[in-house]
Amino acid sequence: MALFELKDFSFKYPFGEDYALKRINLTIEKGEFITICGDSGSGKTTLMRQLKPVLAPHGEKEGELLYEERDINRLDLREQASKIGYVLQNPDNQIVTDKVWHELAFGLESLGYDAAEIRLKVGEMASFFGIQHWFHKKVIELSGGQKQLLNLASIMAMQPEVIILDEPTSQLDPVGAINFLDTIKKINRDLGITILIAEHRLEEILPMSDRVFVIDGGKLLIDATPTQAGRLLKEMNHPMFYAMPSSMQIVSHMVQDEYPLTIREGRQSIERYFKNKEIRVPRLEKSHKPASDKKAIEFKHVYFKYEKEGPDIISDLSFSVNEGEFYGLLGGNGTGKTTTLNLVGGMLKPHHGKINLAKKRIVTLPQNPQALFVKKTVLEDLRDIAKDKDAIDRVTKLTHMAYLLKAHPYDLSGGEQQRLALAKILLLEPQILLLDEPTKGMDAYFKRQLAQILRELTSKGVTILMVSHDIEFCAQYVDRCGMFFNGDLISEAPSNIFFSRNSFYTTSSNRMSRFVFENGVTIKDVITLWEKNKA
């Protein structure tokens, strides 16, 4: 018996002109692990919400949507609440109560279990997730990743048949995200619970998935295994292919009909290909000439700590960024990256050492775009910063916001909100732009757009200093990278050299190809190297 079955299902929003979902046919069997891909605005969220009727938006529906062969709307509310679990994107917004124990019990309270049963179920779940020592904690004391695990656990306590997750890791750092996805995998593998997940981190999620749904423009474009999905996307020459794992993108280019999902498989394919072949061109020659040799930011033996008695967060930090350069600071959590950004921004002052800034107008793009939205429409919000009409025109054009000027900032999608925040910042005409995790929660398409905008800025002489966890993004677009550890830079180089030197903290392409090529850092690098060596 199929868990979900959609037959010619279409959906239209009340004021929408076009259908948001168009004649979708699909089935989901019990115990399956299914990944949904699609750009933002493709209809992923709309589709997933239809599967949980209390969350489904109002609108016209056509066709059939069956849960266990019954019309989903005839499912009684109690069954629906307990059987279909739904995890939303933002870890903070989903938590209702102030204590972990209460949050875990929330759903069971709704279902009307008595205290003894709740104690048992909650205890069981807390032990399964290994969160029993958080039990008495306040929610506010948890990290983002822990909060999202709590959300998952509080749904699991209700013993659902299926869990639907809408980009659950987009607000988490890489460590938290991997941990979360591992837990999802465990739930599917050890408990047999059906998983339906929308996720940007395809590299991690595809190897776990049984099937992939690709949604495009409200249509179900592909319903296949991950490998087949890759093949189909490549054959269609679909832009979604560039969101697929690097191993698939590289190897499918080199070898006919091979679509590996993991780095291990990718590496094996590459090594198999070059077995007994001579590598004539092991490295790409890249020029690393800085755009300018004038220093825009210069740190000289800088020390910083928050409290007099506390440890140094930044110790003996010296580095510089040139004018018009795009510089990326990488490293784990709590190593002092964001502190460095705040030192440049002037929010913090060092207790030793010197910071020279050649330019005056320094602005920071905050991690949460919401922290900047003041007005009712995008246009008014931009006018709040600068009245000059030409400037607004220029910026909206650069950030592709022109068609959104009348919208309310909170009606924009995540990526659009990021762009609006960036547009507001750009109206201040920064000479030095500081970015804190700008790619968080962005899909591949928005990342490319962002990179384009940033390129254009640097070409006009704007200096950009970015803090990021996003290795792939840094490798592709950043001029120079620095690795932060324990309050200091431990390595610094032009990004190509930087990543080719690292062995763990580097791009997937490099991890796959480093045994064959010396500096295949990006997908493009590896493919170019292959082209040069294949003949």
């Binding site: 938590i95 209702v96 209460h102 009307g112 205290a115 959300n151 602005v363 920071t364 922290a371 003041v374």
Partner: protein
């Protein structure tokens, strides 16, 4: 130190503080007030350390003096006239004493409340009201979730605004106020809009189904039952004593105590035990721990 009274069942805590605070408001008998006040002070020091005492002395004593002096200015009852005020009204010893007694009463109540605030955690309040007024209790829990979240948001927003040049700590008052309000306004929008997702999360977990229960982490143990029994006996004795007028003091026109009897000393001892109950429970706990030899 770790307080053991806090670990008792919320009903025990609630009944205890309810009784002690009501009694503290009621009894204006100096000896009974001394009992209650000393109990409150010792327990408050056990809970909050010496800082609590210092706070009490620095803030409470002056207000006590003021009250003691103000009362006779408006209250002219009493027989022992010290002198006459300019408007011809008498200034009496009884009213000074009554002023001191009233002030002590307030201080006593406030100190008991400070202990109550330490012991009655949000979880306990949730337990007590969760079954009676479930929706309001849930709002309480939600507010306690949101307040720190919004505080963090205020900080995030204020930082972000600083980054784009709207600094609350700089500029003249007008500019600062404008930036402060901007921060508040951004916080309001952010919070209202994000609450839609929170409501979704409640719905997704079945909020609104019939027959919702209220879970709590508390279990009534034998120890709790014994303490509740003790509490009930002590409260009953003290209340009976109060009803039969044993704890009553007449301040006007002349200060008059009721004579000491066997029954009244019984009530007195009960009140002493009641006010010192958390302290004794802590001592008992300490002794049991020592006897068990775990701390070797």
């Amino acid at each position: 130190m770790v307080d053991c009274f806090e670990k008792y069942h919320p009903v025990v805590n609630f009944v205890y503080f309810f009784a002690v605070i009501i009694f503290a408001m009621f009894f204006l008998h100096p000896v009974y007030m001394a009992l209650s006040l000393s109990g409150a002070c010792i327990y408050s020091i056990m809970l909050n350390g010496k800082k609590a005492l210092k706070f009490n002395l620095v803030y409470m004593l002056p207000s006590m003096l003021v009250l003691a002096c103000v009362n006779p200015l408006f209250n002219h009852e009493g027989m022992t006239i010290l002198f006459y005020l300019k408007d011809g009204n008498p200034f009496t010893l009884e009213s000074i004493i009554y002023g001191i007694v009233s002030a002590t009463m307030i201080i006593n109540v406030i100190i008991w409340f400070s202990c109550h605030n330490q012991i009655m955690s949000s979880d306990k309040i949730m337990y007590l009201f969760g079954k009676v007024i479930p929706a309001s209790s849930l709002i309480f829990s939600m507010v306690l979730r949101f307040v720190p979240l919004y505080k963090a948001r205020i900080k995030t927003i204020s930082n972000a605004q600083k980054c784009i040049g709207n600094d609350v700590s700089q500029g003249n008052v007008l500019r600062r106020a404008r930036n402060g309000l901007k921060i508040l306004s951004i916080m309001v929008t952010w919070s209202l809009e994000s609450s839609i997702e929170t409501a979704d999360s409640m719905k997704a977990r079945g909020y609104g189904l019939k027959g919702r229960t209220a879970f709590s982490i508390y279990k009534m143990t034998l120890k709790d039952k014994v303490v509740i029994g003790l509490l009930a006996i002590l409260i009953a004795l003290v209340a009976m004593g109060a009803c039969s007028g044993l704890i009553y003091v007449n301040y006007f026109p002349r200060i008059q105590f009721t004579p000491v009897t066997v029954w009244s000393s019984f009530v007195f001892i009960s009140y002493f035990l009641l006010c010192y109950m958390p302290i004794f429970l802590n001592i008992y706990d300490e002794i049991m721990w020592r006897i068990s030899g775990q701390n070797v």
